[in-house]
Symmetry: C2
Subunit: 475 residues, 2 copies
């Protein structure tokens, strides 16, 4: 290969050189088309954008390996791209980078019904997987809402509405195929439910946001489709009563499938957007119960009693598949409901999490912050995990963006002061970098930087994401 | 501090030098007494023994940090020691090493009932923690059988009989305090149920067998004590029918609390040792059901039907706390039951795991291997996870040991060929080193070695354990 000293010095020229070398191998999978590059210049946080030099559409682990080997040799940054649903700037390329799109890797490679597991390529979306599984009696439960790829969900340690029952992606991955920075391919984990041999590389790559290696295949746990599903809605005059109901459900150990909170502001938007005419603009809990008919009945009885004791209004039931779909679609459209009320304005979705005992204190404080900010902001979240989002609306200007970020900083500061984390599920990317030191301490961060430097010494894998610059553990 | 060049060259002399320096700070916590050293020369695998130069009884994270800082500077190996229940040689010191005993770190530092979590020092045993929790309505479920410390359980990624319902230690740890090789103290994880910020250092240290850092404090998840517990026993004429029953329970998604298999040989030993006079020497499943009365009733109905369809004999019930205790004590005494039948002989407990669909094939094959070996060997295990142990009896000679190891190798080879792991819960230590390359592949091992070299560049933390020598990933 070319000697490094003879490489063109400009980052963009280096990336172009790599693309020209790759063209010989996989020319039909490379694009430098402007609109393709534009589509790979950002995730859902549109304001954090930067153009890649080109896009490689990998169709196999071998394609990823070939791309990384060349990028490594020529020191060209690589950013993996799945469905582009990140909201924290994860997929935004740095200058002179190649965007490595895995969305064509859509094969469901194996389904083992008896072991409740399957193997997929990284570009399979959770919806596509569940469509594939429909007739097997099995399903994959992790549901972050958007049409995300499973590779992206692994990379950002995603979770969502069903994590309270089934865990996050982390608890549902058994093993990975990972391409390392230099193009080497390794296997982590395996197919067994547990093992105590070797370092847990699988967990190390999950949540590493493409900075330690690129995930190309995933061995996933599956779950049996529950015999019965029931959904219900309960409204509350007071926010605190709603939060307390959710907290008590968890403390009682009720295996609830989902429990989502929408505050009065969010509910008002949803009523209008999704025609939920039977509801009032009050703080609301959406419930889903899953299991055998007997188990569901028992969960419901206890949940209704807890809600009643916390001044909840009467439960509204959605028992048919259609009614449930309407209800959960309304929940999943919460973002669009707020957006529709504010055409032409910016909408930022924040994300934080606290130990559940601190949730009432936190949300009450956040409501005060919102009031003081003078901004429109709706709260909704995975209240059973202590995790919630604030959808903040501002003007589409830099001043508006700074206003939203100022409010977000206050929210995160409150969460961290209560023993929380700056992100329950959106990840760090570029958006949460400033909070990492306060959250993890310099000691842990220096160890993380040492791991990054060891596995990606040339810093080509999604450089600048996840880890703020700082000292590296020397040992 | 002393310049390295001036250090005494002999490993033992270096360790003695460190102990003399430590004596100024924590003299009363150091012992070089022969019987103390002897007790720290091995775990439960008595034949893998080597004397430490001395033992430091740490009483705080600060003590551990002070010890590691000196050992690091003077390049003295350190082996953490908890309850000494390891069966794979984890705690056996290399030459010139200090054994760092954490068993005096027994404080339960905080219990947060509303968040279902607690913080403990590493020397707290799971039994001590559960005694402490007795009146809170909460309990810690991970149960490896022995009186292990929670620090040791984290270090070996322990699990046991309750993992099928509650997960292994890995799923039940939220965060750690870890002392790094150079004495630096870091915090990993936190108190939240999930987070997507930063690399998952907690999972990296869990199962690292004291080779990456020494765990001194643990934030643990707790669970509500189930309203009702029921235990039952079902016997089978055929091994295959028993295994199939367990497999189908898991595949049906029944949230069984425990399901343990004892083969005919093991059951015969238990009947004799624990006076289980109502039972026959047949393959046997021990069940535990936990939950609300309704849920337990439902689980039992389905389980009984599955057992009946697989030619199971009638269920025997243990409903009172006393009856349950007798039954589970008999299960936990399985090792001693075999031991008692073979006084003066060696007993080796092996450990492997496969995807549950492969369990019948594996155990049937292992029975053939046992028969061919001419040895007495009993099978028992956590059949709901696909994990089981073979208790092999041989003469107390080197030839006898080699005979047992030869049989173990056959068992592990079968497990690996079926997509399994060489250890479900005992860990690698020294005993399983030879299987790591076949199980993980050289790629993953080279990455593990790179992590080890980064976090412990002087190779003082439990050197020689967990990772076989080989190439290091260079990136």
């Amino acid at each position: 290969m070319t000697d490094q000293a003879s490489l063109p010095l400009h980052p963009t020229a280096r990336a172009q050189h790599v693309l020209s070398l790759l063209a010989a191998e996989i020319g039909d999978k490379i694009s430098t088309n402007l609109s393709v590059c534009e589509a790979h210049s950002h995730g859902e946080a549109l304001e954090i954008a930067n153009m890649p030099v080109g896009v490689v559409f990998a169709e196999s682990t071998q394609d990823v390996s070939a791309t990384l080997a060349l990028c490594h040799h020529h020191r060209v940054p690589v950013v993996a791209f799945g469905a582009g649903t990140s909201v924290e700037g994860h997929v935004t390329p740095p200058d002179g980078a190649i965007s490595l799109d895995l969305s064509r890797m859509t094969e469901v490679m194996a389904v083992n019904s008896s072991d409740l597991d399957c193997r997929v390529q990284a570009g399979v979306t959770r919806q596509a997987l569940n469509a594939f599984l429909r007739d097997t009696g099995l399903f994959f439960p992790v549901d972050p809402g958007g049409e995300a790829t499973l590779g992206g969900m692994c990379a950002t340690r995603a979770s969502g509405t069903a994590a309270v029952r089934y865990g996050t992606i982390k608890e549902n991955v058994l093993g990975l195929t990972v391409v390392m920075a230099n193009g080497e391919v390794i296997q982590t984990g395996g197919r067994v439910r547990k093992s105590s041999t070797g370092y847990d590389l699988t967990s190390l790559f999950i949540g590493s946001e493409g900075t330690l290696g690129i995930i190309t295949e995933i061995q996933l746990r599956l779950h049996g489709q529950p015999e019965q599903l029931s959904a219900a809605v309960c409204q509350f005059e007071n926010l605190e009563d709603a939060v307390n109901t959710a907290v008590e459900i968890i403390q009682m150990g009720i295996p609830i499938a989902r429990v989502e909170l929408l505050d009065d502001v969010q509910m008002q938007a949803c009523i209008r957007y999704s025609n939920l005419d039977n509801y009032q603009p009050l703080t609301t809990l959406f419930f889903e119960f899953a299991g055998s008919p007997e188990a569901v009945k028992e969960q419901i009885t206890v949940t209704e009693a807890l809600a009643r004791d916390n001044n909840g209004l009467a439960f509204t039931w959605a028992d048919t598949a259609d009614e449930r779909a309407t209800l959960w679609k309304a929940r999943h459209n919460a973002y669009w409901a707020v957006k529709a009320l504010h055409p032409g304005q910016r909408l930022i979705s924040t994300d934080c999490i606290v130990p559940i005992s601190q949730l009432t204190t936190l949300i009450t404080g956040v409501k005060d912050d919102i009031l003081a900010s003078g901004l429109y902001a709706a709260i909704l979240g995975h209240v059973g995990d202590g995790n919630f989002h604030t959808l903040i609306v501002t003007e589409e200007t830099e001043a508006g963006r700074q206003q939203a970020l100022a409010l977000d900083r206050k929210i995160v500061a409150r969460a961290l002061a209560l023993g929380g984390s700056s992100s329950g599920e959106h990840g760090v990317g570029l958006g949460k970098l400033e909070f990492l030191a306060a959250e993890h301490g310099e000691g842990a961060l220096s160890v993380m930087r040492a791991l990054k430097a060891t596995l990606d010494p040339r810093n080509i894998l999604n450089p600048g994401k996840l880890l703020p610059v700082g000292p590296v553990f020397k040992g």
